[in-house]
Amino acid sequence: MRDTEPRLSLWNITKKYPGCIANKNVTLDVQPGEIHALLGENGAGKSTLMKIIYGVTHADSGSIIWEGHEVDIKLPTDARKLGIGMVFQHFSLFETLSVAENIALAMSDEEPLGITELSTKIIEVSTKYGMPLEPDRLVHTLSVGERQRLEIVRCLIQDVKLLILDEPTSVLTPQEVDKLFDVLRTLSAEGCSILFISHKLNEVKALCHKASVLRQGEMVGDTDVDTASVDTLASMMVGEQTKLEQEYEKVLGSETALSITKLNYFTSDPFGVNLKNISLEIRKGEILGIAGVAGNGQEELFSILSGEIQIQQKQALTINQQDIGALNPAQRREFGMSYVPPERNGRGAVEDFSLEENALLTNNIGNKFGKLNLKGIKQFANDIITTFNVKCHNSKTAASNLSGGNLQKFIIGREILQEPTVLIAAHPTWGVDFGSSKAIQESIIELRNNGAAVVVISEDLDELFQISDRMCALFHGRISPVKPATDVSIEEVGRWMAGVFDEQEAAA
């Protein structure tokens, strides 16, 4: 592949947004038939670079060379004419239209196809690649995996030469991921180039030929995936050598701290998920990991546990046999509960407020007659900062000036230093660099060792296996069986995430 002309070359692409440089002098070559990974942490500039290639936004300087000719891609239609297709992280589909209608909308006007002809072609293309699709189905009835198929088929139908996939696996179960990889390998064998954006190293290792790594907007290097180890790739991404896998001791608790009994919840949010007959026991001295693809009821379950959503069944939640279903989040904290929400700014912390004020958000320390104990608050904020090694100017710094990982450490620290007896944490290390992730995981383990009951809700299976003592999964608002992490395989959890479990067994 080396001797041929690259299908796509990027030359010194620079793109600035106010307050950040998304891409700085990025240079990249993609060969025909190559599966090329673009690696980088959240905010490294991957998505911006792809949007530039696809014509969604424009570079401030630099050039794009397509099959040996410099091109000016003004709009996605220009990109599609060249043969570039893109599958976005957030799908761009019309839910009320059918599969065929959605594809028709993306077709160029120059060679209009009737909907029946198009339907035949959809069936032809989708079966050829092993991604069956029914052209007449309405999109809102499709599962997330099927929607992604539709997006890919929409690109394939137009004879793509370069397919860009932005974090395609983040919404898929492990089994669906395997299927997707088969499709991508077939495409690559036919000569289609693929740009695969990800921050999951194992997937890159399994699928890709080459990998280019972006860090803070700059291309730090590219490497042949075959010769590079996962650890090398990781250190290229974060810029420091960190051990990726950390083994923690597994223990099983005995006494129940928090229990959920036959919880049903019907959401009024049209995009929400109903929870069906959920029963869980969260035990002292144990970490329960709840896996699941995003949007299967995690948000609802978290908010019900925290008290942000009030439920009708006031008896469904108890902590040490006391009903807490009717209490608000602040009252539940007095029972020793504590939460780390999925959103940092705008839920776990107030952006414009100082760290001291954010420390006060969930810990009403030493206030007499409603008057603030300013000294105590400052002391508490500084305790968090030193104990959890939060990098910041001082405790008066606004939360918005902290990086995501540092703010997450601050929030986790705020909750853990209050010595909760039950901690509910959603995505505790999402988008956090490796060093901070390790620190966060260790503090959660330590909390468990001190006898607290911990629930970790996450989409990251690797992490869940790493820290959980028992595991289960959420699918369409239902909960799978709960098994000790040592007795369950990643494949079995994958099946749970896809809804393959016996509810009788789960309820038992």
């Binding site: 307050g19 401030d60 989040p329 839920r347 776990g348 006060l360 958000l361």
Partner: protein
């Protein structure tokens, strides 16, 4: 020309402090052009507006009379605005407080005890709070937008006042003028400067500002109010009761406006008339913003706004310019303050212009260290 508005990387702290002064400067420039067009000497107008009113001690005392209600109302509005509750109804709360307080005052026309003051003032406070309470009820129960309900209630209060002074509360000995009887002086705030109209209200207003400052920056209640205003999700996550905060803010703000109303009616005005407020409730909104939504800032901005009212009267008397000039000044001030607020956090960029190449963002620079 095609411009887009984009967020600045960092808002300038200096500009945050300077912007009220820039707004005042810009207002002076625009009004200068305006007076030149009217063939009036701008210097003479400004002299009459800003200097002549406070040239003697009597002027200063009159200024205090105007500043007291503005400061009281603005202190209450500040609490609402910090919680992101947009109470535009201080005018109505002021009028209703004045009306009910006035009605209470009329019950004690023949009583000369200093204790009369207590029920009269209390009536005004409760009435103002109740009027704001209607908006709080509608918001917490039906999720009604408080901007709309409070504005509408302003007109309801004004019409109630008109009805009262034309009907049930009209002075039987008043030759059918739409006015109530004159109040007994014991229903009015005590005069604190002999031979002037300056009354205790100004002291109460300053105390209210300090109290509001204390609540907002030293009490957990104030913290809850600020979190509710800055971030509703964070407030819910923290477990702060949004409805209770809404009620508290609107009731306090209504109570202070109502107090300002009754003080004004029983004191400087002395009777109920169809026009007991020269728009204090609206001007106080400008006071709150010009004072940077800070209690101490309000003390200064209320003084400036009071001066505008006083100056407006003088300019009308001596230069024959319309009283509406005061509104013109107020409107321009508000416009420039809001424009300034936008430009502190955002900037205009021509659509074709690309970002400057040498702007190294702070986040990256810090990350590199």
């Amino acid at each position: 020309m095609n411009f887009k508005i984009e967020k600045r990387a960092e808002a300038s702290e200096l500009m945050r402090w300077l912007s009220p002064f820039i707004a005042i400067g810009a207002t002076l420039v625009i009004t200068t052009l305006f007076f030149l067009a009217l063939n009036k000497s701008p210097l003479e107008v400004f002299y009459n507006f800003f200097i002549a009113p406070v040239q003697d001690l009597y002027g200063v005392s009159e200024l205090a009379v105007k500043v007291a209600p503005l400061m009281l109302i603005a202190a209450g509005l500040l609490i609402c605005y910090k919680a992101n509750i947009w109470n535009i109804g201080a005018e109505g709360q002021f009028i209703f407080g004045g009306l009910i307080g006035g009605w209470a005052g009329l019950q004690f026309l023949d009583v000369n005890s200093p204790w009369v003051l207590v029920p009269v003032m209390l009536a005004g406070v409760v009435a103002g709070a109740a009027w704001a309470g209607i908006a709080a009820f509608l918001k917490t129960v039906f999720n009604t937008n408080e901007i709309l309900t409070t504005i509408m209630l302003n007109y309801v209060a004004l019409n109630l006042l008109n009805f009262a002074v034309h009907g049930p509360l009209r002075d039987p000995a008043g030759f059918n003028f739409p006015e109530s009887a004159m109040f007994n002086s014991s229903a009015a705030m005590p005069i604190i400067w002999q031979d002037t109209r300056m009354h205790l209200g100004i002291i109460i207003a300053v105390i209210a500002c300090i109290g509001v400052w204390f609540i907002l920056s030293r009490m957990h209640l104030g913290f809850r109010i600020r979190v509710r205003g800055a971030d509703e999700h964070a407030a819910r996550f923290a477990g702060f009761n949004a409805k209770a905060i809404t009620w508290f803010c609107l009731l306090i703000s209504g109570a202070l406006a109502g107090l300002a109303g009754v003080i004004e009616v029983t004191g400087p005005i002395g009777q109920l008339t169809p026009s007991i407020s020269p728009g204090y409730g609206y001007a106080a909104i400008i006071v709150a913003f010009l004072g940077r939504l800070h209690p101490i800032g309000i003390i200064f901005s209320a003084t400036l706004m009071g001066l505008l009212y006083l100056g407006g009267e003088l300019v009308q008397m001596f230069l024959g310019l319309p009283m509406a000039l005061t509104s013109l000044f107020q409107g321009l001030l508000l416009l420039f303050i809001l424009a300034g607020d936008l430009l502190i956090t955002h900037r205009f960029v021509p659509k074709w212009k690309k970002p400057k190449a040498d702007e190294v963002p702070n986040a990256l620079a810090e990350g590199a260290k």
